[in-house]
């Protein structure tokens, strides 16, 4: 290993060529999995569902990563980055499955880096700017509760690959929900200021619940969780209003998605053939 320049050391040839977990040129995360779409499964529907759930995860992961260096404490940065990493892993598996199911054989990068905002199918709640930490925790609580219910349902999917991805994700999402719930309670039951901001965050998030439930109706599960946590936090669950600009599932997004994707996609688009 070269000692004089850390970048040279990184670029040095290794015995194997997949040592570094960043950049492009990853191996297919579903490498070697039996990827036949079973009889009776509508391949186009399966692909669309995988893309939508992959987009929710990718966009959420990007918003969570934005907290790195900006979170209240180092432990929270690690937590948020870890949660983002789990979601990024789910997105990679889902995009790979989509590319097999829609017959294009596109890899994960084609979905993440080379689609425009109109092609993204994430729910609009995921793309809103991070804003206040309390808002981010309210959003994480809602999105992880909803996704957990959705994935629970998908463990019975007739597509064995999607069922396996979901079964893996369920355990991760349980941790995400737990983390967010603890923060909502801590802030709601904290100082006057933290209570005020947590209440505002919860209020902002509830306006997007309708779009979530249209995409997958987990109304009972999500509302029960929200009620339980709001009670413990000394917060009233706000009236469900609806003022989203979506639905994101049909490619209608807020103005916040395009700048997020511009940043996310900039390097891959500047050097479309590059691997590093």
């Amino acid at each position: 290993m070269s000692d004089d320049n850390v970048y040279m050391a990184l670029a040095e040839g290794h015995e194997d060529d997949t040592r570094w977990a960043y950049g492009t040129g990853f191996e297919d995360p579903l490498h070697g999995v039996d990827t036949t779409v079973p009889d009776g499964v509508d391949a186009a529907e399966l692909a669309a569902l995988c893309v939508a759930l992959g987009d929710d995860a990718l966009v959420s992961a990007q918003r969570l990563a934005e907290w790195t260096t900006r979170a209240p404490e180092l432990e929270e940065e690690m937590a948020l980055a870890n949660i983002g990493l789990d979601l990024l892993g789910q997105a990679r598996l889902l995009y790979s499955r989509a590319g097999q199911a829609d017959g294009t054989e596109r890899g994960e990068d084609a979905y993440a880096y080379f689609r425009d905002p109109d092609d993204f199918r994430n729910v609009t709640l995921a793309e809103l700017p991070g804003g206040d930490f309390a808002f981010s925790m309210a959003r994480l609580l809602v999105l992880s509760s909803w996704r957990l219910a959705h994935f629970e349902g998908l463990t019975a999917s007739p597509d064995p690959v999607l069922a396996a991805i979901a079964a893996k994700g369920v355990r991760e999402l349980t941790y995400h929900r737990q983390y967010a719930a603890e923060w909502v309670i801590r802030l709601g039951d904290g100082t006057e200021e933290s209570h005020r901001r947590m209440r505002a965050g919860l209020q902002q998030v509830t306006a997007y619940l309708g779009e979530l439930f249209d995409a997958y109706d987990a109304r009972d599960e999500v509302l029960a969780v929200l009620r339980q946590i709001a009670d413990a936090a000394g917060l009233a669950l706000p009236e469900m209003t609806r003022d989203d600009e979506g639905p994101g599932r049909q490619g209608r997004h807020t103005d916040h998605l395009a700048p997020l994707l511009t940043e996310l996609q900039s390097v891959a688009r500047a050097h479309p053939e590059a691997t590093w």
Binding site: A21, F26, L30, H31, G32, L88, G89, G169, R171, E221
Partner: protein, 171 residues
């Protein structure tokens, strides 16, 4: 036939000894991520690995490690496959693996939480865990962060000996 079996045993032994990139005191066998090692009639070794966390960046490294070691041991054709089902849980970590973790100052996981199928379980309070300090053995410990330096670990501290330690959290 006998030689195929012998090859398969040897290939399995080599793959089992590959260290985990993030917990290098553990082999892939200790961690419980190596599912199958088979040798085909044409001599191709097919090893199956299962990921720990969906986003675990060590997966590519594990795959490369298995392929490299098998090739270096004279197996010309090696294929490393991914298996997602059944999903890995910390229950797959062997007793030997748990012993090694504790020896290296990392508290091993307790039993993995049982996943209830159907509706989402609504109890959000964490099950009370008894995490024993891997340094002094005291059970007077507390969690400082559920998310640590790698996906699979949480940060804890011991109130008796005052040392922080890592803990492989149940999943």
């Amino acid at each position: 036939m006998v030689s195929v079996l012998r090859h398969a045993r040897r290939a399995r032994h080599i793959a089992e000894q590959v260290p985990d990139p993030e917990l290098p005191m553990l082999t892939l066998a200790d961690l419980g991520v190596l599912r199958e090692v088979e040798v085909g009639d044409d001599g191709t070794v097919v090893a199956s690995l299962t990921p720990t966390y969906s986003g675990c960046p060590a997966m590519a490294e594990m795959r490369a490690g298995v392929a490299t070691r098998l090739r270096n041991a004279g197996f010309a054709r090696v294929e490393v496959r991914t298996v997602l089902d059944p999903p890995w849980t910390t229950d797959w970590i062997t007793p030997e693996g748990r012993r090694k973790l504790a020896e290296h100052g990392i508290a091993p996981p307790g039993p993995a939480p049982r996943r209830v199928s159907g509706p989402v379980p609504l109890t959000l309070t964490p099950t009370r865990r008894q995490v024993v300090c891997p340094r002094c053995g005291s059970a007077d410990t507390e969690e400082s962060s559920r998310f640590g330096a790698t996906s699979c670990k949480a940060l804890w501290r011991c109130r008796a000996c005052r040392e922080p330690f890592e803990y492989v959290k149940e999943i």
